[in-house]
Assembly symmetry: C2
Homo-oligomer: 545 residues x 2
């Protein structure tokens, strides 16, 4: 077993199961860039090891359709050809990505209850409850023993739609013997049990029962069952539904085409037509529950939405919790909505969202049902993996049977022993910036950081070929440093200082370019810092004429 992503991080999940010369990949996700990754669009796992072993890779099994499980698929399929297995909704979302990338691939639909034989692997697909429809766990039987991967899950005894987990089947698998368990660690720090989606439904019931004006609900597009519930409530309360935001429209289309979403007849209305209805006849379902800057909800809050102007009487629901890092943008949206007189319902003041991941008591139940011999906590930062390991130990599992791994580390497991290999395989983060995959490195990021903090000053000087005597300039141009019109004196003095430094260098015979460049850079850096306490990038350019 080789985790290639998702260990020590929440994001870009990708796990390799290897038996002799055959490999199966579970998930192929992406993650969002961290703050210091200036200008980066997304981050995907390093796929070197997969490309090097392309002929051994027999299939990619996707647990569910969240970005951190499917976002890397197009980048994998650009580099090798392999069939991708997933439930209908998962494949629908992947197909949508492949279309955007202009790719074709072999997508094979599976569903809970399916058993597939692929080479030496016998895979059983199991239904699991999570915050997206069509989520699976995989029981992968190999000649060495059974590997069980939970995927992302929670234990929801009363899901809004679809079945709860088949506990009998899980117990049967456990009784037959699980060699290795890989299980979701996202919420391992939290005691107790994640509440059911039904608690959100109860809050929504109450909102529909008591709101007189328009209702605007922002939630995760992928939570199809919650969207379905809202649509059902709308019909009950004789409201029409307008769908807003690109990813929400997308998801509603895909999910309804594939039968995951059952949209009542005549219940949808174009967003542009909502003003033809009375306020009490309108529900909007929209993106932006994380305060994303370009999302529909943020634009509504900023009075920047083509069709929707927030007004007193509106009830706006943020059916989400802040993903760490988004607290401030969400607060901004809530503040602006309140200032416009809307009633705003959000997670700090109401039970309007539940997590899709298991807390400690749920983890304990899964461990007790499956009774694995060996255990690797996955899907979490180190602190989550560490706490999940402690939970397993608290159930009596020997410490030496639990492995906290790193991306790229290799665990060899047999019935009699489990052992980490000394040598890792290549793994890590690959940054995607526009069309560039992996071409932005440390130097470019460092320059972007310095540019963002202090801008830059370009100093151009034309010099005579051969002698390097100044023919024209130096001219000083800046961006992101100071407001030029208010800083003419500063920049004029800077030019004098550079001129003097260049003349001094020439007088001392230092007319090679490296010397002249450092004369410019050093003199200017000192002057600028003394005057402003700022450190812009200084870029000396010499033109030979």
């Amino acid at each position: 077993m080789i985790p290639l992503g998702g260990i020590g991080e929440i994001g870009k999940n990708m796990t390799l199961i290897r038996y002799r010369d055959e490999m199966l990949l579970i998930d192929c996700g992406m993650t969002f860039p961290s703050d210091e990754m200036y200008g980066i669009d997304i981050v995907i796992p390093d796929m070197t090891y997969l490309v090097e072993n392309a002929e051994k890779l027999k299939g990619v099994f996707i647990t569910h359709g969240h970005e951190d499980h499917i976002g890397g698929v197009p980048y994998l399929l650009k580099r090798l050809s392999v069939p991708v297995y997933g439930t209908a909704l998962t494949l629908g979302l992947i197909q949508n990505k492949l279309n955007e990338h202009g790719l074709k691939a072999e997508l094979r639909a599976i569903e809970p209850g399916d058993r597939l034989q692929i080479g030496s692997f016998r895979i059983e697909v199991l239904n699991i409850t999570h915050s997206i429809a069509g989520a699976c766990a995989f029981a992968i039987d190999t000649p060495a023993g059974l590997v069980f991967h939970t995927g992302d899950f929670k234990i929801d005894y009363t899901p809004l739609k679809g079945d709860p987990i088949d506990f009998q089947r899980f117990a049967e698998i456990g009784r037959k013997g699980v060699l290795l368990l890989l299980a979701d660690s996202t919420n391992a720090e939290r005691k107790g049990h994640t509440p059911s989606e039904k608690t959100v439904a109860a809050t929504l019931d109450n909102i529909f029962a008591t709101s007189k004006g328009r209702i605007i609900i922002a939630t995760f597009a992928s939570n199809v069952n919650r969207v379905q519930y809202i649509m059902n409530l709308a019909r009950e309360h004789k409201r029409k539904v307008a769908v807003s935001g690109r990813s929400m429209i997308n998801m509603v289309n895909i999910a309804s085409e594939l039968g995951y979403l059952d949209i009542p007849d005549n219940s949808l209305i174009e967003l542009g037509r909502i003003n033809s209805l009375r306020d009490e006849e309108v529900v909007m379902i929209t993106t932006g529950s994380q305060g994303e800057p370009m999302s529909a909800l943020t634009r509504m809050a900023s009075d920047d939405h083509k069709n929707v102007k927030i007004k007193p009487g509106d009830t706006v629901v943020l059916s989400s919790s802040p993903i760490p890092g988004n607290e401030k943008t969400i607060s901004n949206v809530v503040n602006k909505l309140l200032e416009k007189g809307a009633k705003v319902i959000y997670s700090a003041i109401a039970d309007i969202h539940v997590s899709g991941h298991p807390c400690q008591e749920e983890l304990k139940l899964i461990h007790m049902l499956l009774k694995p011999k060996y255990f690797v906590p996955v899907h979490g930062e180190f602190k989550h993996l560490h706490t999940h390991a402690e939970v397993a130990e608290s159930l009596g599992m020997p410490k030496e049977n639990i492995f906290i791994m790193h991306n790229g580390s290799v665990l060899n497991v047999s019935q009699s022993r489990a052992e980490m290999e000394k040598k890792d395989v290549p793994a890590g983060s690959v940054m995607v910036d526009g069309l560039g995959v992996g071409d932005v490195g440390k130097i470019v990021l460092r320059d972007r950081k310095i540019l963002s903090e202090g801008g830059l000053i370009v100093v151009v000087t034309a010099v005579e070929k051969g002698s390097n005597y100044i023919v024209s300039g130096p001219e000083i141009i800046s961006r992101g440093f100071v407001y030029v019109r208010e800083s003419e004196d500063l920049l004029n003095t800077a030019r004098d200082i550079v001129t003097q430094a260049l003349e001094d260098a020439i007088d001392r015979g230092l007319t090679d370019w490296p010397s002249m460049k450092s004369a410019v850079r050093d003199s200017l850096r000192e002057f600028i810092f003394e005057q402003t306490k700022r450190n812009p990038i200084i870029l000396p350019i010499f033109m030979e004429v």
Copy 2:
């Protein structure tokens, strides 16, 4: 009453009380820049109105020594001269700032129980419990009636040190009649009651009782009473204390000089000497509980600290909660400490921090004790002010007596009426970047943002004076765009394209500089976007020779 900062935001608190031609200022804080304020160091309130009315300003009263209440003082005193009043610790912290700025000022010590007459204002200083020692509320009696400013507070019946609030005196003031209440709204969204500092003490007791190795505690330097408690525990458990981190060392020095901190004899040890003691004899108190990148704790976690190497057996305590926006940096520190084998105790898993601000039941008590006629919620984002107003309404206060204000709005209050003026006074945010106060504006920030996302490309061309024919170049230099060594082909083609665009422009007689600049910019932008889907800043420069 004119709020000049701290309304619609958590930060840079500053409130003006005006009676005819006399003014008192309460607090003068700063705030930290938001994410889109690239390169900005701090943000202070706009002081225009104060400077314009300098002769009317009779004094600045500071409630306590947190940055969001004192950070603007040096910038105010650079522009006008006015006495500053505060308790000894507050003034000690201000003096420290003034020294850094090379400023002198008239600082006047006050303490709870003091009553001062300043012009028409009669000010009573009241002790209040908060997360820093020496915190006050002010009851300001004016000929128009009494204004009560709570400052930041919590209701702690059992503070670790010092007195609880004098509820009898608050009730007396309430009975005599409070015209206008200004009260802290930070935690107004939270139901119930903020726990006492005693709950943190209990957790610390337990940590000292059970830890065998070194104990490293990161907390807010300003929480002097918690630092005192840790020092007392250290003595009880026969451990020496090493203090680490510039702001912690600073605070320990100031607080012990002023008598707020009572350091037991022989209890301190230099950080460089801790390795001469056995592990069970060591406690370190340090900064970095918010995961600040350069802090002592972050450096320890990254194995980058001169004196301290984290090892198994160490117990590291983050005695803090994440300030919104810091969740990720704190997680990084926790993860790294756990990876090094330390036991880590943090707020997600233990009761190791309590807020310094009041929850709803505390707000209710203050309102009921003071029974104000009019009320302005302060110290909070709009959502906090809004919820605080709802709390006041729930107690029976008429809605029309509650005013949710903006920075710069003016509320005129008399015994018979309160009314907002139609016209605001100047107020807002002033960004400080190095030595520049207010000189970085929208254009510079926009450029820094674009530079941070895509870097820049400079295109330099030397042209003949008069004719503008190309003499040398164009040359292309980039920073923060691509790694140049791996992108030679791209940059070479870019040069060809620019050359072609310039030649076309000259052929069409478009040899004025604006035309030639847009020829460069347009051709290059299109090519670069098509090839990379990136949008660097393009900076065409022409040199006349």
